[in-house]
């Protein structure tokens, strides 16, 4: 009987596989993180991996042709929130049916990775499976939003967005900006408008007033005053408004951007200088940058003078430039500090909200409304005021982008509320697999979830939780001693998303090499890239970061801390969850099942179970545990969010 079932299963799988090859296209897109300068595969709507030209669209198939056989595949018809209300109507008008809802484990893994950059441990997975509450997905989202892991992940997201780097800010400034300013802002769910205002108007010393490190980084090192404020203005429009003005920092838009960006094609270089002119009221000085950091002070007697012949940009000629905001032409009010005026204009502008909505939507769905994130065209986003022909609206779903922008503004620029809105939509919870006819252009209708590759940080952190070996990976740098103001101790951490910056690779080489092989950049002159190489597979197969955490005999040491947070001489030995599982009294089949849950967060298929039992033969589970762990960690699906 079992043989018959297996034969039936194999035939069915083959038929489904052939069907999948004939129809459908599952396309892979990369993680976007908070990278304001997405590289090739992150940008330009280039979801087709390996696509060389516009004319070639690779065929793709179902990820798991046999995963859903025999299961009920519920297709949502009631919108959960405003996202679904807009998209369901769009899909109805287009005559395209959306796919079915993903199952609980699929949802749990997806939303855990998107919100926290890691997966839950086995105990939490089993509890979620057991939970019969129909509202358990919403409760789980709230649990993630309230977690420390969320704070780690989104602090890192802002590190990426703001390009936190030891290279420019010095170690102390970068660590302070990341682990103190950003972390505290995320932890208290500070309004993004408040954050932007604090960063644009910051003043003080970069080793004490951590928020000053944003402008310090944005301005870069070296160059004349005009270059520095040009860099800052470019960075501000890029990360806070989603519109890179770097082009018009060197030349007028006309003649260069006529076929790229309608708004910028109408701007002159002078319009850019006027925005940069808000920032000359900030002065950066230092007598010893390494020892004492930089001082960011207010100084109102240094106007923007467009009169340079060298530096990073072509010569400037235009005399004294008064501050005017590039989007509106508004000038500072009487007595208003120029930097404060700029912060006000940036955060009050609708582009500020559109920018973050686009970034958050892209992060969660892997398909932003507009890509790359920093190429929003302010003149082509409002569906009620469409651009003149032949221009078209820029966003793939302009009505939804505007509706979410309204929500974001009304929520008080609330990060968690916006992420929650997305995560709880039916749209977010669609499967990546589809039972309907699928064409590549359906991607912009959001009728199914698009697969994205995990970043190196996500792969690492997922692995840490899957094994539950919470071994610390760093022992250098600085961190704040709890309750002791600005005192510092060596920085050590467990998760990649807790790493402020990987510049000092030699201090954290175990982690930094792993991340480097997986394409992490340095937030300075080496951009993140997502083109994999065989070295990634070699690392996953052989690296002792991996080998030293899997198998049935893994423990790790946790040093106890005293009431002040200082490490004591006491320690305890902790057994990994995979080690614990291997030595329980459960049946071998249940151990195999739970190993799949712990690492891949899914049930093994019957075919997999049968194959494993055949490969295992008469050996005990403990005998094959290391091989099973190794195999599942090297599964291709370990590298994706689907």
């Amino acid at each position: 009987m079992e043989d018959l079932l297996v034969r039936f299963y194999l035939i069915k799988s083959t038929v489904l596989l052939l069907l999948a090859l004939l129809i459908g296209s599952g396309r892979l897109v990369p993680a976007y993180a908070g990278d304001p300068h997405p590289n090739c595969m992150s940008g330009c709507d280039r979801a087709d991996r390996g696509k060389t030209t516009r004319g070639t669209v690779p065929k793709a198939t179902f990820l798991f042709p046999s995963r859903y056989q025999g299961m009920a595949l519920p297709v949502a018809d009631q919108p959960a929130n405003l996202i679904d209300r807009v998209l369901f109507e769009v899909q109805r008008e287009a005559g395209v049916e959306r796919t079915f809802r993903c199952d609980d484990l699929n949802f749990m893994r997806r939303v855990s990775l998107d919100l926290t950059g890691r997966i839950p441990n086995l105990k939490r997975i089993l509890a979620f499976l057991k939970d019969q509450d129909p509202d358990k997905r919403a409760r789980y989202v709230d649990e993630l939003l309230a977690s420390e892991a969320f704070v780690d992940r989104w602090t890192y997201w802002f590190n990426e967005l703001f390009e936190t780097t030891y290279k420019v800010q010095n170690t102390r400034g970068a660590v302070g900006f990341s682990t103190f300013y950003l972390r505290e802002a995320v932890a208290e769910n500070r309004s993004l408008a408040t954050m932007a205002t604090e960063l644009i108007t910051a003043r003080g010393n970069s080793y004490r007033a951590w928020s000053t490190n944003y402008l310090l980084r944005a301005g870069g090192l070296g160059g004349n005053l005009q270059d520095r404020v040009d860099n800052e203005a470019t960075h501000i429009t890029d990360v806070f408004l989603g519109t890179s003005t770097a082009c018009i920092s060197c030349h007028d838009g006309s003649g260069y951007l006529d076929d790229i960006n309608l708004f910028l094609s109408r701007q002159k270089r002078r319009n850019f200088w006027e925005t940069a002119a808000f920032l000359t009221a900030k002065q950066i000085t230092s007598d010893n940058p390494l020892l004492h950091g930089f001082d960011l002070t207010d100084r109102l007697d240094t106007p923007y003078i467009a009169d340079t012949v060298d530096g990073m940009r072509p010569p400037r000629e235009g005399g004294v430039i008064p501050p005017r905001f590039v989007l509106t032409g508004e000038e500072p009010g009487d007595g208003e500090h120029p930097a404060a005026a700029l912060a006000r204009m940036v955060t009050e502008d609708r582009m500020f909200a559109r920018n973050f909505v686009n970034r958050l939507w892209g992060h969660m769905t892997a398909v932003p409304f507009v890509s790359p994130y920093n190429e929003l065209d302010p003149a082509r986003l409002d569906p009620d005021q469409p651009p003149p022909s032949p221009w078209t609206l820029q966003a793939n779903q302009p009505r939804l982008m505007e509706a979410m922008t309204d929500f974001f503004i009304e929520s008080g620029h609330d990060l968690r509320a916006t992420l929650r809105l997305i995560a709880l939509s039916e749209t977010y919870q669609l499967s990546t697999d589809t039972v309907r006819d699928w064409r590549p252009e359906h991607r912009d209708l959001y009728v199914r979830r698009v697969v994205r590759e995990l970043t190196g940080e996500e792969v690492f952190d997922q692995f840490v939780v899957a094994t539950d070996v919470l071994r610390r990976v760093g022992a250098a740098g600085i961190e704040r001693v709890p309750g002791d103001g600005d005192s510092f101790t060596p920085l050590s951490f467990v998760f990649a998303h807790q790493f402020p910056d990987n510049y000092h690779g030699h201090m954290f080489y175990m982690l930094t090499q792993f991340l480097t092989v997986f394409g992490v950049g340095n937030r300075y002159d080496q951009p993140r890239f997502d083109a994999p190489a065989p070295s990634q597979a070699l690392l996953m197969m052989n690296d002792y970061v991996i080998q030293g955490r899997i198998g049935p005999y893994q423990t790790y040491i946790v040093w106890e801390r005293d009431e002040h947070g200082n490490i004591t001489n006491e320690y305890r030995e902790v057994i990994s969850q995979l080690t614990h599982l291997a030595h329980t009294a459960l049946s071998d089949r249940e151990k195999i099942r739970r190993t799949f849950l712990a690492i891949l967060m899914r049930e093994p298929t019957r075919l997999e179970m049968r194959k494993i039992e055949a490969l295992k033969g008469n050996q005990s589970f403990v005998d094959v545990a290391h091989t099973l762990h190794w195999t599942l960690i090297n599964y291709s699906e370990f590298r994706i969010n689907y």
Binding site: N39, A533, T631
Partner: protein, 449 residues
């Protein structure tokens, strides 16, 4: 039949039989002087941060120059800091110095992009994202020349990872080597028990790695990795020989190596092994960092100069002693070596931190091997190295980084004038970009003629 058609047919038939035909200059139309095709391989050393040209390749000793920098003349007549680079001083016939480089970028990120890609940095991320690194594009172009037994990747990178593959397939990404940690972390399965058994489990079980079902396109990562792990030539090429490594490091008075750990000595020793293995590797990128010396420029040169000197001299020696693929040629004859950074440093007096700042009005590069006629100087600067006064070639402008890229392509027999119109952005992609000040890129012909 044009070359690409021939290569496609060759790929279909198995390239082993076509390789001799495709090797060397003979595969190009000799009527086209722009395609030299003199090199089979290239080692591209990117001195990241900007090497001080006036203290190295365009040596202009001044009042601040320490005596320890030394002073001698190469066979070309070039003044040379023999105090920190004595071994290269004795090998002046191997290389030619180009002293008429000019650029407009003085920002690391932007200028490095030009070095790495042959294109000017475009602030529009979507356009920049289409541009591949030099090595990736070369890997694309040379893909048809790979033989069935070529197990090593075409494109290796060390020291610093170059940009990605742009709009080209991801398989052409660089294999990035962290030399210091590479072998035990990536190749050595000493903790890995029965790796064959594990691989059997993996290939048997993973539903996304099956023949005919590879929806993520990631199967090749593991199949390539497995091939590398079990190929003896690959293991030998990637296992850095201790004795060789010593040859690439300066010796102290007590005979001990001057320094250990990663650095230019290890990278070039590794580069030699990869090329000598003749197992598919054709382009090696070395990101040689830490040349951005705004302070203590001479302190850094006193340390790094001898390391660079010994490593490159040893590389020249081994490469010239090793037979190439073509009869009568050495491996150095078949390998273009380029040393260049994104710009030079401010000439004349040092700044208040005893360093030199960014400077792009004039800087220099070193070329060797791969058909380069050694022992020459191309171009000249004024007395302090602050302006190009002799372009050194037939074109009425200084040499730019785009010309340097064109030269690399040309030496490898790749038509750098090619372009692709069907790009994701719709904008034409030129193999070598157009710099507004330079206009059309040209090959630095005096290197070869």
């Amino acid at each position: 039949m044009d070359r690409r058609t021939a290569l496609k047919i060759g790929a279909g038939l198995g390239l082993a039989g076509l390789r001799p035909l495709l090797a060397g200059k003979t595969r190009f139309d000799k009527r086209d002087p722009q395609l030299w095709g003199t090199a089979r391989n290239c080692v591209f050393i990117n001195t990241v941060g900007g090497m001080s040209h006036v203290d190295t390749f365009d040596y202009k000793p001044g009042p601040a120059t320490p005596n320890a920098m030394g002073q001698s003349r190469l066979s070309s007549g070039a003044l040379w800091p023999a105090g920190i680079m004595p071994d290269l001083a004795a090998r002046g016939d191997h290389f030619t110095l180009v002293r008429s480089l000019y650029g407009v970028e003085r920002n690391h990120q932007r200028a490095q992009f030009a070095v790495e890609t042959g294109h000017r940095f475009n602030p529009a991320a979507s356009l920049r994202a289409e541009v591949p690194s030099l090595g990736s594009l070369i890997s694309v172009e040379l893909a048809g020349q790979r033989g069935a037994d070529d197990v090593l990747p075409t494109f290796f990178a060390m020291g610093m990872r170059p940009p990605g593959t742009g709009m080209f397939p991801r398989q052409h990404n660089a294999y990035f080597l962290e030399v210091e940690n590479r072998f035990d972390r990536e190749f050595d399965a000493y903790l890995n028990g029965d790796i064959r058994t594990r691989l059997n489990w993996l290939w048997t079980l993973d539903p996304l790695k099956q023949e005919g079902h590879d929806p993520l396109g990631s199967r090749y990562l593991w199949s390539s990795a497995e091939a590398l792990m079990f190929d003896e030539r690959a293991r030998a090429a990637l296992t850095l020989d201790d004795e060789r490594q010593l040859r690439y490091l300066p010796q102290q008075e007590d005979g001990q190596p001057y320094v250990s750990g990663r650095g230019i000595g290890e990278w070039l020793a590794q580069a030699y092994q990869l090329l000598a293995a003749d197992s598919g590797t054709r382009f090696i990128h070395i990101g040689y960092q830490d040349w951005d010396r705004h302070s203590q420029v001479y302190g850094h040169l006193a340390y790094e100069g001898p390391l660079f000197d010994r490593a490159l001299a040893a590389f020249f020696d081994e490469m010239s002693e090793t037979p190439g693929v073509e009869a009568g040629k050495s491996l150095l004859d078949e390998t273009l070596v380029v040393v260049v950074g994104e710009f030079g440093r401010t000439p004349g007096a040092l700044n208040r931190l005893q360093g030199r700042d960014h400077f792009s009005d004039a800087f220099s590069a070193l070329f060797a091997g791969g058909g380069v006629q050694g022992g020459r100087i191309i171009g000249a600067t004024d007395a302090v190295g602050g302006a190009v006064i002799d372009n050194g070639w037939s074109h009425d402008r200084p040499i730019g980084l785009v010309d340097l890229s064109a030269t690399v392509f040309s030496a490898l027999g790749i038509d750098y004038r090619r372009s692709l119109a069907d790009t994701p952005s719709g904008r034409t992609f030129y193999y070598v970009g157009r710099d507004s000040w330079a206009g059309t890129p040209h090959v630095i012909d005096p290197l070869f003629s």
